[in-house]
Symmetry: D2
Subunit: 139 residues, 4 copies
């Protein structure tokens, strides 16, 4: 599990005084980026090294407690399931100990022409593996 | 079912050249607003006339074909389920005949202090009813 | 001058109950797209037919009266100045007769490698010209 | 001058492969929040303690070098001018040593009914002053 901290800005809120519901998917993305980076990969590697993309096929969010302006929130991202040609990330958004929202995204593994492809072994090992401390290629 | 047309702008896309995944929830919202308006209500009525809010409790999207810059897309919004204290909207996003994405949102019915409330009969009838042609209060 | 109508959604507002200040630049973009389309061009033509791009070099907004949720607003877009290698668009955002905001954007004319280029005569004539009723290539 | 670091996410980019122009105003806001916090204030204090708001009256951005996905950028925020009833913030966005963009925002000082008000002395001193290490009320 990888933890990313973010601060809610005004631009994230709506006039109900809470974070607009679509923005949780932005937070999930920030968490997913960090997960990938922490495992020694960069998103651009998928394309450059593997000739692959991982477009989102499915996303869902369950909203429990609204996040508010100026909150420092944490996104906890984990790999929920890794299959031959898809990956499922799970997310929890917290403020301190409170769980504000949970959700997941499912990503298909496709080549640059959009055809579904088996995920290469190296990628599987990277994504499923434990966190790569100072992995090469990581910033 | 209520149909809303939108044009995709640059600001909706990401560097993969397609609409960013979170923005489908913005399109769903535009469709939901139009659905509510077409049934003779305005969102502010919930609060002003009924003392109620309908915060999103759950949202999900299934992505099939990416929407692109300058596409004219249609959001088809329908009431999928109306319960004592919640409502579920269903959405389809189309480009011409192609279904680009589907999804739903679930909304809790709460009062201004956030307590779950039974939906008033008038609201149920409005939301479930057929489209209100020139309903009073509609713009 | 080209006029584009838009409806403000919840996702455009912030917790002050008004449209978030960055979103006016989204509205300007929607107006600019419509301006370009009304003159018989599509944004993708710049790249495909002319090998050019028009990245934003400068943007400014003057905010007078806040736009609010559910407002129908109009973006009036005009070509303020067309120079050898740049174009300046002017914008007004209105709600009915009220001017809510004004602003402009300046765009450099560059080739696909990012070098500044003189704007081709055809492009100048298109952009400066009067609106192309049913111009070829227009949707 | 206050420095805030941010990482660019996919959702910030557009299909030109660079950060969408409106999002620089989001970055400015993140920098402004941090500036205010570093001077011992929170945005909500304006309303709660002083009965005032600082809505944006003007914003402008000058774009030099595009920010890209996954970049770590720094927003440098400073108080450019503090007048009787308005404040002007200046911003620079950097990636390493490169200045990617500069800009400013002007904010009017108004009361909760929207009338222009003189800025209270305490607020002036706070905003103009040097950074408040561990000021009370700060998180």
């Amino acid at each position: 599990m990888i933890r990313t901290e973010l601060r809610v800005i005004y631009g994230d809120t709506d006039q109900m005084g809470v974070v607009y519901y679509a923005n949780y998917l932005r937070y999930f993305e920030a968490g997913r980026n960090e997960y990938i980076r922490a495992h020694g990969l960069r998103y651009r590697d998928f394309e450059e090294r593997f000739g692959l993309r991982l477009p989102v096929a499915e996303a869902s969010v369950s909203y429990r407690i609204p996040a508010r302006y100026d909150d420092v929130i944490a996104v906890e991202t984990s790999m929920a399931e890794l299959r031959r040609a898809s990956a499922r990330f799970g997310y929890r958004i917290l403020r301190g100990d409170e769980v504000l929202a949970t959700g997941h995204t499912v990503h298909a593994c496709v080549d640059l022409e959009g055809r579904v492809r088996r995920m290469p072994q190296e990628l599987v090992e990277r994504l499923a593996g434990s966190v790569a401390g100072g992995a090469p290629g990581e910033e």
